[in-house]
Amino acid sequence: MTSEIFKRKELVFALIAFLGLWLFLDYSVVEPGVQSVTADILKWATLLGGFMLIYGGLEALRYHSKVVYKKQRNWYWSAYFVAIVLVYVFSGLIQGSKGMIPQWLFNNMLDPASATMYSILAFYIISALYRTLRLRSIELAILSLVTIIVVAANDPIITIYVPQLTAVRDWFISVPNVGANRGFVIGAAIGAIFLGVRVFLGRERSLVR
């Protein structure tokens, strides 16, 4: 019977709505008691954030362990994955997250891989600029010309000979771009506010599976 009550989604939506409204209304309340409770709620959420990090890690471990167990495609890479995660976590538990092994893995594997993954896009961006930026229509022409003005203004040699380019780039970024951007931000804010109201009223069912 108790488990049936906890299975009901209405309880979950009520919790989301209650907490959301509490935090939202706390902004305008200066009652110290209320603010103290809010500070604790925020701290609890931070603590839960820590659990989320661990849960995500364990979910990935579970998936790759299954691949190894069932010897599915590329199972040896999954075995490598599981081995590195376990070495990382156990060495971190023994030595602390600033211990020699965790720091070695961070500095020599995580850092270079993470940094390089993002930088590889440099090659694809140049290729995209070459293949897709065509003056095909008005929209593409505007996009392409503004792109090239910004690229040229970011080129130190070109700006030595054409210093006005910097001012043109800055004008594009600080006037029409701000107009577009601000419209985007305000529009997104309106959407987010309405979504929040739907959640507070319990009408947004897609949040919970």
Binding site: F18, L140, I148, G183, A188
Partner: protein, 200 residues
């Protein structure tokens, strides 16, 4: 021993960097090595950070007599019921807690910062050509995102103007993306050249 480990680590870092770049040519086992190393170390690091957070925020509070912090710890443990076949529904509650708190925190900031202050910045400003262009841009982009009515006639023209403003924004972003991605690549190449002793 430490010097040998440091040197070995530097070579691993160089190999991983070049392995990731090898993807441009072809996806090889070398790239997979870098990919799985990245995934595994990110997960390991995230788990350690999570444990540190629980220790520093939760366990330290309980050790100082704040026994009410047992509640969020129990809530956090409920997350792992997702792995169980029968009790999976209990994992909804910690997620609901985070969603509710996150939503409240986000909404209160969103209304003030991303809505009211942005409107104020657009409207409460000295009247110049630039500020009028910004106002036209904001209004036309908002019309572009208004999908309740078909964009015909006057609405269509304003919506088209909004699209042009958006293209300027995207163009500025794309141009700066070229700069950013190249800079990231420069940073990695500086690392390799420095490790090989070709740069100070």
């Amino acid at each position: 021993m430490t010097d040998v480990l440091t040197l070995f680590g530097t070579y691993i870092a160089i190999i991983i960097t070049l392995a990731v770049y090898s993807y441009i040519i072809k996806e090889t086992d070398l790239f997979r090595f870098a990919e799985y190393s990245f995934l595994a170390t990110s997960i390991g690091w995230a788990i350690l950070l999570g444990l540190d957070t629980i220790n520093n925020v939760g366990v330290s509070a309980i050790s100082k007599g704040r026994y009410d912090y047992i509640i969020p710890i129990i809530l956090g443990l409920l997350l792992f019921t997702r792995f169980s076949g029968k009790l999976w529904y209990l994992a909804r509650y910690p997620v609901a807690f985070i969603l509710g708190v996150g939503l409240g925190v986000f909404m209160r900031g969103q209304i003030h910062a991303m809505f009211l202050q942005q409107i104020a910045a657009t409207v409460i400003t000295p009247v110049t050509v630039d500020s009028l262009i910004i106002l036209v841009g904001v209004l036309s982009v908002l019309v572009f995102f208004y999908f309740t009515r078909e964009h015909k006639g006057a609405l269509g023209y304003v919506s088209t103007l909004g699209r042009y403003f958006l293209m300027v924004g995207f163009g500025a972003t794309f141009g700066n993306t070229v700069l950013y991605r190249i800079n990231l690549a420069v940073g990695r190449i500086i690392f390799i050249l420095r490790a090989l002793g070709l740069l100070p």
